[in-house]
Amino acid sequence: MKKYLLSTAMIAVLGALPVSAENHIMDYKPVTQERLLDPESSDWLSLRRTLDGHGHSPLDEINKQNVAQLETVWNQSTGPYQQYAEFAALPARPAHQAPALVNDGVMFMVTPDLQIIALDAVTGEEYWRYVYEFPADIIPVHPTNKGVALWEDKIYMNTQDAHTIAVDAKTGELVWKTKLEDYRNGYYNTAAPLVVDGVVVVGTSGGEFGIRGFLQGLDAESGITKWKTYTIPHPDAPGGDTWPGDTWKTGGGSTWITGNYDKENDLVVWGVGNAAPWIGDMRPGDNLYTTSSVAVSPQTGEIKSHFQYHHNGNWDWDEVFPPTLMNLDGQDLAVRFARNGYIYKMDRSEGDFKFIEGKPYVHNDAFLGLDPETGRPEYDPDKVPGTGKYAAYCPSAWGGRDWLADSYNAKTGILYIPVNENMCGEAEGAVVDYEPGVLYLGSGLSMKLTPEAEDHIGAIQAWDIRTLEKKWQVNFKSHMWGATMSTDGGLVFAGGTSDGMFRAFDADSGEILWEKQLDGGINTPPTTFTVDGKQYVAVTTGWGVDADRVQFFIDLNRGTKTEIPQGGSIWVFALPS
């Protein structure tokens, strides 16, 4: 694992001090609810640019006719890094997973060791750097951070020791810090917050430790908790009868990917991970609200509705990525490519999830099919592992898609999704006792490649959401661990392959129109913005965590050893002046 280099003395110097004398950032433009809901085309203010999760930009200066001319404007390391932890609990290098957010020419980046960096988006000049101080005994399972949220004049970040913090956008000084849970009991947080109307909504990681998952709403100004809603209901609450005995207390249901906001119904739509332990016969029942999407009031935390993709899960198929929200031909839809390998198209016009249609987008042999009315799957019993019962199944525990974001072009109705296929899993359950802060899995974890993996594992797929038909697919022998970004320039950008390539695809055909090998693998979502009318594209290298772990299993299967440079730098591209 990479050694972190930033000393305590350096932290004292760097922490929260502006490093630029003359600061454009002092004219910082506050981020309002109106701007988050309808951002200027020049900005990328939230993880997926718009709160409905589209990951699409209306910019078209860079387009399919000229993208081949794209060149580097600036590139610089996000280091120096601080002393974080000597090792991860499971082997993995720290990964950059955060998109570069841009507000009026000011870029914000967060590093795996929890430094927030504010930079000039055109030059890369650093305005300030905030360094979060870790407890000395942190041993991360997922050494990463997936990004910050912007609201008014503050920047919000979640931490490995289960806190949420706010810093001043102009200076990087800490404004408030709120403890969510005790990290010693397995709680940690790598996802970005979501801010809706002054409420900072946050989730939690730690399902593998048998936590009780939750969503929490904090006041954006003070950090004071307004509400906390558990994703594993109390026995007396609705859904509580889906958990036997005390299993609800340690049922998992983490919420480790940031949700989207359904403005038509004023609901936060968030994904809930799988149950703990991983094997279903240890907790008979549907186990609500695990492996579900939940729709929650951002002001009260009340769960208004939910949709469960698969019940009593067995396969570590976290369903944490939120549905992409859209209005297509006058119909409000929620569309989700689930980790279990199926697409789900749902009507959300009344604030709930009415199942319309579902079908596989990668091979799934554990489901015999979906109920055409409800979308509830029927399982092949031979593909269901149990306590003392071995079963092999497809897709693998990492699913058809893991946490990597899709993008959606509302003008064409086409959605672009990074997927993995031809990887299957196997598991056998064994009785496990709960101990706070200790892995609580109840089974092994392994992956095997199918013969078709010789052709490809990773891919980008384009789907017509009107017809739910696949339009094209571009395959890679490598697994795919990068989010997509589409633009009105007729392009789809993505990294994610083990060769460290950053690519632009023709959105109509999937043809690769431009590619450049960077200094490391790319797990971060690309973003695009303009300053003074000129369009830029940004992406950050920094390969690690589960992208590394899956590569380990691929190499084990293939008898290879793939060296993937870690990288750790921001790249900004534009057309020649």
Binding site: F87, P91, L441
Partner: protein, 123 residues
């Protein structure tokens, strides 16, 4: 290539059979209370998160016959195995020997002490 690693098998909890203190093992090697105490402290700091305080989480260490093979255990700690982190860069030979001595002589095991010199030979 198909393989069947089961890296996180989690089996029945086993109580701590062997009380801390000076104990005798098959080879008649006395194990001091201090070394067991030091080994336990290191184990709880470095190993508990995955294996649990009683060796019954993650890959089960309690009543695990593989622990009888000192070379296998030392190699696993030094170089990692499957989903286990390689600790060779993070622990000294002395620290590895203390952890090995603890897990081999507690949590349901009784396999004898390991010296730092023996660990060094497996590096």
């Amino acid at each position: 290539m198909i393989y069947t690693l089961h890296l996180f098998k989690i089996l029945l909890i086993i109580a701590l059979f062997v009380p801390l203190g000076t104990i005798s093992i098959a080879e008649d090697t006395a194990i001091s209370q201090d070394s067991l105490k030091s080994g336990k402290e290191l184990y709880l700091k470095r190993c508990r998160l995955c294996h649990g305080s009683k060796g019954t989480s993650g890959k089960r260490l309690s009543k695990n016959q593989n622990l009888a093979d000192t070379q296998y255990v030392a190699n696993t700690i030094i170089n990692g195995r499957g989903y286990m982190t390689a600790f060779g860069e993070h622990l000294t030979d002395e620290e590895i020997s203390l952890i090995m001595t603890f897990v081999r002589n507690s949590i349901g095991n009784s396999f004898g002490a390991v010296s730092a010199e023996e660990v060094a030979r497996y590096r």
